[in-house]
Amino acid sequence: MIRRALAWTLSVLLVMPVILLVLLSVARHWTWPALLPTDLQWRQWQELTAASSTLVAVALRSLGLSVGVAMVATILGFLSSRSVARHPRQGQLLVLLHLPFAVSPVVLGVSLLYAFLRLHLAGHIAGVMLAQLIFAYAYAVILLSGFWNSQVLTLAELAISLGAKRPQVWFRVLLPLARPLLFVCLFQTFMISWFDYALTLLIGDSQVTTLTVTLYQYFSSGDIRLAATCALLLLAPPLFALGINHRLLSATVVTRLEAQSD
């Protein structure tokens, strides 16, 4: 009975942030000490559907950026992960791949900015994409290096011994086997870019506006309603993924554990 009550309490606590964001995004008046908004308005959600909406443009830019980062990181990560998995110093290489996460996005952004300024990449979406790729690529290699186990390598060797050419091994054997993990990798690397704030702020040099940057601007200006609307847009892709398949998000737990336990 106590366990059941605890499970229910925890469930409510886990759902509450999303409910709070929805209420904040539609509240016209919600002054202290009211527990619920006293007046609602749907204006910004209606405006969101208009083609000229600024938020829609920002959301589409963020989407394009994140999809680009995810695709490039997954393709490069898949190719590189094979070499990492077969390397005699695989453990050390995996530790090195964790370095971008260890030094924090702010330090990475600061370290890259001078070079990016000289290369005229700062303040451009291509520069932000390149900076985010460092994180996304490292994550993709860590995640996908777990794919190259002895069973997969044996199957690839078997295909070669049966006369398959190298492209056939990749397209007929390896890619079909890796497809589920590649989808997970695409989604996770998408999330790295989608959630990024610090790198976009530093490398984007206030010229590149994404949803996270816009959320901060609304928050700083005290417009909580629009900040909450931005937050809900940020939550939409991962919540959608959660709805269709836990595995897309559970990979964060599973693969980090497996990749790091060699």
Binding site: L14, P33, L35, Y197, R256
Partner: protein, 266 residues
């Protein structure tokens, strides 16, 4: 590595907009500045406190809920915080923990406070309580899922049962058998999380105090100041932190990497 080289060159006046040739004055200025060490210690303290509190809470919830973690709505809902980026988590903290936030309203409804000012300050305090609470809300569900996965893989219930049949009490079986297995298996993830939490940016930026500030916030502030002269100092701070974080990660992972190399060679 290239980024670190750029930072070192910039911080020693070799490159940069105001470069005047090699100098160590920015380094000496930052190294004797007390704020540098306070910020580093503050980051380590809040990172450790956030991870420690999350781990204790996750272990307690796992022990209390057991198999219920894998059944019903809770199983899916535990993934929900992973869909929340740190900047949104900070926004939620302000709306929940602030003086006029949801908790304060609930406290008023319960008759505990009469005005918003009566509600205890949880945000923007030098103690960093808001930062720790926000990180705990974000990290605990992830750790709970991780512990549950380890429990299933390590067949912990079988081990616990064996300890019980050998005469251990429930507490002894958990503390002497389950806890060491969970911590050892979770050590790599916990190590990475510790370093990531120490370098957190969005949450301390939005719910942290002006002073002291966590290292990422301090670096960004020095970097973005109107006075361009502070930029090399930001590079000094970033270089110090990058070396410390990378060193910490290497120390935490070195035994594992060595073991992996030995297994590969065998």
């Amino acid at each position: 590595m290239a980024g670190l080289a750029f930072m070192l060159l910039y911080s020693t006046g070799v490159i940069g907009l105001l470069a005047t040739g090699f100098t160590l004055r920015y380094w000496s200025h930052v190294l004797i500045d007390g704020q540098t060490w306070i910020s580093l210690a503050y980051s380590a303290l809040l990172g450790s406190a956030s991870l420690g509190a999350s781990l204790v809470l996750a272990l307690a919830l796992q022990a209390a809920l057991g198999v219920r973690l894998r059944t019903g709505a809770l199983r899916g809902l535990l993934f929900l915080p992973m869909a929340i980026p740190p900047i949104v988590a900070a926004l939620l903290s302000v709306q929940m923990l602030g003086n006029a936030g949801l908790l304060s309203r609930v406290a008023h409804a319960a008759g505990l406070v009469a005005r918003p000012e009566d509600f205890p300050a949880l945000l923007y305090t030098p103690a960093g309580l808001g930062i720790v609470i926000t990180h705990v809300m974000l990290v605990t569900p992830f750790l709970l899922l991780m512990l549950d996965r380890i429990e299933r893989h390590a067949l912990l219930s079988d081990l616990e049962q064996m300890a019980r049949t050998l005469g251990a009490s429930p507490w002894q079986a958990w503390r002497r058998v389950c806890l060491p297995v969970l911590l050892r298996a979770g050590a790599p993830v916990l190590s990475v999380y510790l370093v990531v939490l120490m370098g957190a940016y969005e949450v301390p930026l939005l719910v942290g105090a002006q002073y002291p500030s966590m290292i990422s916030v301090l670096i960004q502030r020095r970097f973005s100041q109107f006075d361009m002269g502070t930029r090399p100092e930001a590079y000094v701070l970033a270089s110090i932190y990058a070396c410390l974080a990378a060193g910490l990660l290497l120390v935490l992972f070195a035994p594992r990497a060595r073991r992996s190399a030995q297994e590969h060679g065998a």
